[in-house]
């Protein structure tokens, strides 16, 4: 449950701030590679080690207070 909750929080954050984008058609679930790519973009923009994996630093960064607008750091979603 905890693992699932973390995944949902992660996807929610990446989606809310423009690192992930819901596909216009097809299933709602994200492919793992999309999530990994989005997480890498977030880690790079946050000057964290870019692993594509959730770690403590990434989690801590995602908890920091911030602006509600999206980030333009995932080139694919920005396009």
């Amino acid at each position: 449950e905890d693992q699932r909750l973390t995944e949902e929080t992660l996807e929610g954050y990446l989606l809310q701030y423009g690192y992930l984008q819901k596909p216009l058609e097809g299933a709602d679930d994200f492919r793992l590679e999309d999530i990994t790519e989005a997480l890498r973009a977030f880690q790079e923009a946050s000057e964290l080690p870019v692993s594509g994996q959730m770690d403590d630093d990434t989690r801590a960064r995602m908890k920091q207070p911030r602006c509600g607008l999206e980030d333009p750091f995932n080139q694919k979603t920005l396009k």
């Binding site: 960064r61 207070p65 602006c67 607008l69």
Partner: protein, 406 residues
């Protein structure tokens, strides 16, 4: 930086629709107003606050539910604020945040407001984690200034600020800085002043070294180079005095005196001082007899600007007229409250209408500057701190000299 849009005009209005509960109204308003000044000081933008009716940019606070905003907030932490891009103009803050000013506690309203105003002007999030436009709040910074990426972004949208684009109606603090390597900047909250004066339009100025700042009830304003406001004026002044009677502002340094009307130097100045001693300590205008007083050491000169003054019986002892005032004051001024103020070192004295030092003085000048680091807001005027923002502006060289006071 990322550009998201742009206003087709450069003179914008803004309106503060409501305020947070964790800051006094004056404190919160000062923080929000300052947020605009960061941008108008680096780009040819002007912002005029309106108290009613329509405004281009509208700032408001709402919580989880808002009839006016589809983006709800989420309580303390997480999302702090959001804004629409041009030309929509809405800027919203999460009212459930602990909004503060001048302290590391809570979330600094001024910095977040400056970030959101950046969005309202068309900037997206910056890749530089230390930039104002970075998406994540980097915490309170006492000497906050815009990051070069922020400046590059706003100037990509609206161009650079140049003297020609200045508008007389503009607030002084929006004057244009050009970033050079700053000489050491004084800390307004614990510097011995060179001079102070109640200037035109009731603004209180404090001078130290190459810099000048305004003193308001919410603390020191941003630092500017003296020459950025009064072109041609050097730093490290001896004295400064504004006379409402003549509209003249006089600055004294060494054996020279500069005269300005507003911020324009009068023709023929600077001139040489020759009937009072050089290297004055302080000067003030006393509205009771409409004369200017010049101070040096233990003596003073009383000068009638509009008549030829007989200085043969001067200097007279300071103590003969100003009871309880120390010799060699570093600055002096009459203020809006009808009292006279002298400062020396880190102390200041207040004198009543009878020019007698009031009980309980001297006090520490940080009190007068409304500086009190590290505390949450208290009521305005008992002192809190808005550490200065730091803008640095080009310097200019002094011009030729004639003689004065004849």
């Amino acid at each position: 930086y990322l550009l998201l849009g742009r206003w087709r005009k450069k003179h914008l209005t803004y309106r503060i629709l409501n305020l947070p509960s964790t800051l006094s109204p004056s404190r919160a308003q000062a923080a929000l107003r300052q947020a605009f000044k960061y941008w108008s000081s680096v780009a040819p933008l002007t912002f005029r606050e309106v108290k009613a009716g329509w405004a281009d940019i509208r700032l408001s606070f709402h919580g989880r539910q808002s009839p006016y905003c589809s983006n709800t907030f989420d309580g303390p932490g997480k999302v702090l604020a959001h804004a629409d891009i041009p030309e929509l103009g809405s800027v919203h803050f999460d009212k459930d945040e602990f909004w503060t000013e001048g302290t590391y506690q809570g979330v600094n309203l001024r910095i977040i407001a400056a970030h959101e105003v950046g969005h309202a002007l068309g900037l997206g999030h910056s890749r530089y984690t230390q930039a104002l436009m970075a998406p994540v709040y980097a915490g309170y910074q006492p000497y906050f200034r815009l990051h070069p990426d922020d400046v590059a972004g706003i100037q990509a949208l609206y161009g650079k600020k140049s003297p020609e684009t200045e508008d007389e109606e503009e607030e002084i603090s929006t004057m244009s800085p050009v970033t050079t390597k700053p000489s050491p900047m004084p800390n307004p909250c614990n510097s011995e002043l060179d001079a102070m004066m109640l200037g035109p339009r009731g603004k209180t100025y404090a001078f130290k070294g190459d810099y000048v700042w305004t003193v308001t009830d919410s603390g020191p304003g941003p630092l500017f180079r003296v020459s950025a406001l009064w072109e041609g004026l050097p730093g490290n002044l001896d004295a400064a005095v504004y006379s409402p009677r003549t509209g003249w502002t006089h600055f004294f340094k060494g054996n020279k005196v500069w005269r300005y009307v507003g911020f324009k130097m009068s023709p023929g100045f600077p001139m040489k001082l020759n009937r009072v001693e050089p290297n004055l300590d302080a000067a003030l205008y006393w509205p009771v007899n409409k004369k200017v007083f010049l101070f040096k050491g233990s003596g003073y000169w009383q000068w009638d600007e509009l008549a030829s003054t007989d200085f043969s019986r001067y200097p007279k002892p300071i103590k003969a007229l100003f009871t309880g005032v120390p010799d060699q004051p570093s600055a002096a001024m009459s203020w809006q409250d009808g009292q006279v103020y002298f400062s020396k070192g880190k102390d200041y004295w207040r004198l009543n209408q009878q020019l007698r030092v009031a009980k309980g003085y001297p006090r520490n000048i940080t009190h007068w500057m409304h500086c009190r680091p590290q505390t949450a807001d208290t009521n305005s005027f008992t002192g809190d701190t808005t550490p200065p923002t730091t803008d640095t502006i080009l310097d200019t060289t002094p011009s030729t000299v004639d003689s004065f006071l004849d």
